[in-house]
């Protein structure tokens, strides 16, 4: 307990010192608001977390215990979570203009919610489905039904998933904070009246173009995230993990000395409750019948129409749609095929880089203790960095270095994608390597697989399913990131924004600059079509093919 209090005091003192130094040393007056804005961001993410928890737990339990609800809810939520945060932009506009200052705060919370809520929902869904049949049957035979069943069986069973889902939601919140706290609409920048860290970071990077300040703020945010994580989530996760049916993802930051032991024990993550966890992805790809898909698509279509209605206060007529296609940036429509190719190209390059690096690092970390003790700490701290916040920093650095803004943005875009995609690949691959059953390792040893033979005969085939899962997840998150990173907003409306041609920047320009909802939705549909066809044509086939490779124990 005393150690814990010391840690709290130490963390607080460190952060306070950093905030004080930034506030006094920086030439810009608004940096003095840093402590207040920090509090504001923390409060905002925390409130959104509470809302996400309430929504995720109730809907998760509903969708996993009620068949009818499951058929309707799960596919819809599955599709909603694959829509990039900007896709919810039209929904936010309504709040922005209807409620003034409160409306802006609500919009930010709503945007954050659309990126935070899913992790909890899918975690709960997976955990309820993971309750062993014998427990379900025995409880039924003892007459536990209805609320009693939820209270005595479901709630205890989902507790760890809720905690880890909440933790992931929390990280997602920090990840998307910079996108949510700095909303651009038709040349105006809208920031929440109570301020926030995302506001400060965006100001430093976009407005003042002050690289040093941006890096300092980034370090501050990372430290903040790491301190909060080690003070709250690690303790919670440790506690929640007791008395569960299966081990869950638990990455401990405290004490790097323990890492080596952890590389062997904690990281054999049986089933991770990642935002878009393997089970959810696999379920989606395998389970859905045609009818369910139909329901999902029509519901999403209905939702889109509803959103457009709420914005325009009337249902979109053919004329509205035609108007959308004839107002700016409609003049760029003929170039859309090229945009698609360019964006896919960026994603492809970033994917190949992440794949190669993640396989290399993942295998090294899992096979070699020394490497593990180097890689895991980097990875632990690295996951505390809100990657989207890196965007302006990398961009500013590269502009100085390369000289051309366009070229700098092009490189930044790929770097951002790699940083984002690699984490999903890495965590999937590492856990797969760790999960190779000891018997198979012994077989390899006994029959003399060494060096390359060991890698080709044992390690690579064993991680193939995980590579496919990691690929699906990283492409999913990649689409989210590319929309953010093909377009760099400017705080001064007179200065034209820097962008590289692509589907993401087209979507941004439609939404941010012109507020052209029709084209925004049109681009989103194109993206969904690409994502779904890649799933159907590539990933689902691979997943089915490698299904047999999974080691049954």
């Amino acid at each position: 307990m005393r150690g814990y209090l010391l840690k709290v005091a130490g963390g607080f003192a460190l952060l306070a010192l950093m905030a004080y130094l930034i506030g006094t040393l920086s030439p810009y007056p608004e940096m003095a608001n840093l402590p207040l804005f920090t509090l504001s961001t923390i409060t905002r993410i925390f409130i959104t977390l509470l809302i996400s928890l309430a929504w995720g737990v109730s809907f998760g339990i509903l969708a996993s215990t009620n068949r009818t609800a499951s058929i309707v809810i799960t596919p819809i939520i599955d599709l909603l979570q694959s829509i990039p945060i900007l896709g919810y932009f039209p929904l936010v506009i309504g709040f922005l203009f209807a409620f003034g200052a409160i409306g802006i705060e609500l919009s930010v919370v709503l945007l954050l919610f659309t990126s935070m809520a899913w992790a909890i929902f899918f975690g709960v869904l997976g955990a309820v489905k993971g309750i062993p049949t014998n427990v379900v049957e025995s409880s039924k035979s003892f007459g536990l039904t209805g609320w009693r069943y939820v209270r005595h069986i479901v709630l205890p069973a989902i507790a760890p998933a809720v905690v880890s889902g909440a933790n992931l939601a929390w990280s997602d919140g920090w990840f998307f904070m910079i996108a949510a706290e700095y909303i651009q609409y038709k040349g105006d920048v809208v920031v929440p009246p109570s301020g926030g860290l995302g506001v400060l970071l965006a100001r430093a990077a976009y407005h003042y173009e002050d690289m040093n300040l941006a890096v300092v703020l980034l370090v501050f945010i990372t430290t903040l995230v790491v301190v909060i994580n080690s003070l709250t989530w690690h303790k919670l996760m440790e506690r929640a993990n007791k008395g569960t049916f299966k081990p869950i993802l638990n990455i401990d930051l405290s004490g790097i000395g323990k890492l080596e032991a952890r590389a062997v024990s904690d990281l054999d993550l049986e089933d991770l409750h990642l935002p878009k966890s393997f089970s959810a992805v696999a379920q989606r790809l395998r389970r859905y019948s045609r009818a369910e898909r139909l329901i999902a698509y029509s519901s999403v279509l209905a939702l889109i129409i509803f959103i457009m209605f709420s914005e325009a206060h009337h249902f979109p007529s053919i004329a509205d749609i035609q108007a959308g296609f004839s107002t700016p940036p409609a003049e760029f429509l003929p170039q859309l095929p090229m945009y698609i190719l360019l964006t896919m190209g960026r994603l492809g390059v970033a994917y190949l880089i992440s794949l190669a690096v993640a396989i290399g690092l993942g295998v090294l970390a899992a096979e070699n203790r020394l490497m593990a003790s180097i890689i895991y700490p980097i990875y632990d701290v690295g996951q505390g960095v809100p990657i989207l916040a890196l965007f302006p920093v990398i961009y500013l650095g590269l502009t100085d270095f390369i000289g051309s803004q366009r070229a700098a943005l092009e490189v930044t875009c790929v770097v951002m994608l790699v940083l984002d995609m690699i984490w999903y690949m890495f965590i999937n691959i590492t856990s797969a390597v760790k999960n190779i059953p000891s018997e198979l390792r012994e077989v390899g040893q006994l029959f003399g697989f060494r060096g390359l033979k060991r890698v080709t005969h044992l390690v690579i085939p064993a991680i193939l399913p995980a590579i496919v899962t990691g690929s699906i997840l990283s492409w999913g998150t990649g689409w989210n990131t590319i929309i953010f990173s093909e377009y760099l907003p400017q705080s001064d409306p007179a200065v034209p924004a820097v962008s590289v041609p692509g589907l993401g920047s087209f979507l941004d320009i439609s939404g941010y600059v012109y507020g052209n909802t029709v084209l925004l939705v049109f681009t989103l549909i194109i993206i969904s079509v690409i994502v779904l066809s890649m799933e159907a044509l590539i990933w689902r086939r691979l997943l089915r093919r490698f299904e047999k490779y999974k080691v049954e124990v």
Binding site: P437, E439, L440, E442, V443, Q445, L446, F447, G448, F449, K453, H457, L458, P461, A462, L464, E547, K548, Y549, K550, V551, E552, V553
Partner: protein
């Protein structure tokens, strides 16, 4: 010269910072053409002992002497059958048998021939190109046995090979293994099996070595003098007498604690 000589093996594991003595000064020998079974409750270190013989684990002290030399690592002359089969899920039945031969540098043609031969020996003809995922437990273990035999080992180690199978399948496979072992002039020469099933041990082994848990020690051994094939004697009093004797030795080991 005995086929295998286990001399004063000790081994300690550290689990959650607590030292657990898995094996304490264990010694026994395995004669030529002998079938030895290690029996004991869980935690008596019998599987660890088998892994030390296989060269998969290193003992803290003591030696296992095989063909005049201490064992330092895995060798094709000592092969192993695993409790959970240990098949590579991404290889077909025949490829699973072939992989160890490939490591030894056998040309593809010979490998395929050997694969077919040993799959036939375990009565798996027609399933060469099936993946483990689509095989039943008993069939998987047949592949596991074929893979171990294809190396023509001097000594075949079996780690509870039948404990994850249903009793009917286990019965069939026990007789299959005994039949293969008893073929004159063909490997494997000697067998070492780990089991916690006393009836199974008495049915199969020439000698049963009884171990006690924490620390794993040899508490006694019982020479099973039932003529083979034992299938004919499995209902006779002499069979149950040996079962009782092994049981008694196990009890004695427990009381010593």
């Amino acid at each position: 010269m005995p086929a295998l000589e286990v001399k004063n093996i000790s081994k300690t594991f550290v689990e959650d910072k607590v030292k657990v003595k898995a094996l304490d000064d264990v010694s026994f020998i395995v004669e030529d053409e002998e079938f030895v079974c290690l029996v004991g409750p869980s935690g008596c270190g019998k599987s660890t002992m088998l892994r030390i013989i296989a060269g998969l684990e290193k003992a803290d002290s003591g030696d296992v002497i095989f063909q005049g030399k201490p064992i330092t690592g895995p060798s094709p002359k000592i092969s192993m059958v695993f409790q959970l089969f240990g098949l590579l899920p991404w290889k077909t039945a025949i490829e699973n048998v072939e992989v160890p031969l490939e490591v030894l540098g056998m040309p593809k043609k010979d490998r395929v021939a050997a694969g077919m031969e040993y799959l036939k020996m375990v009565e798996l003809e027609g399933f060469e190109n099936t993946y483990p995922h689509d095989l039943s437990g008993g069939m998987k273990q047949r592949v596991g046995i074929a893979r171990a035999l294809a190396l023509k080992p001097e000594i075949l180690l079996m780690d509870e090979p039948f404990s994850s199978l249903d009793e009917l399948t286990a019965k069939t496979l026990r007789d299959l293994v005994l039949e293969i072992w008893r073929r004159k002039g063909e490997p494997p020469n000697s067998m070492v099996m780990v089991s916690h099933n006393v009836e199974e041990a008495v049915y199969m082994a020439d000698r049963v070595i009884v171990m006690s848990p924490r620390p794993g020690r040899v508490v006694g051994e019982v020479k099973i003098e039932i003529p083979r094939p034992r299938f004919e004697h499995r209902r006779e009093p002499v069979y149950f007498r040996f079962v009782d004797e092994v049981m008694g030795t196990l009890q004695k080991g427990n009381h010593k604690q």
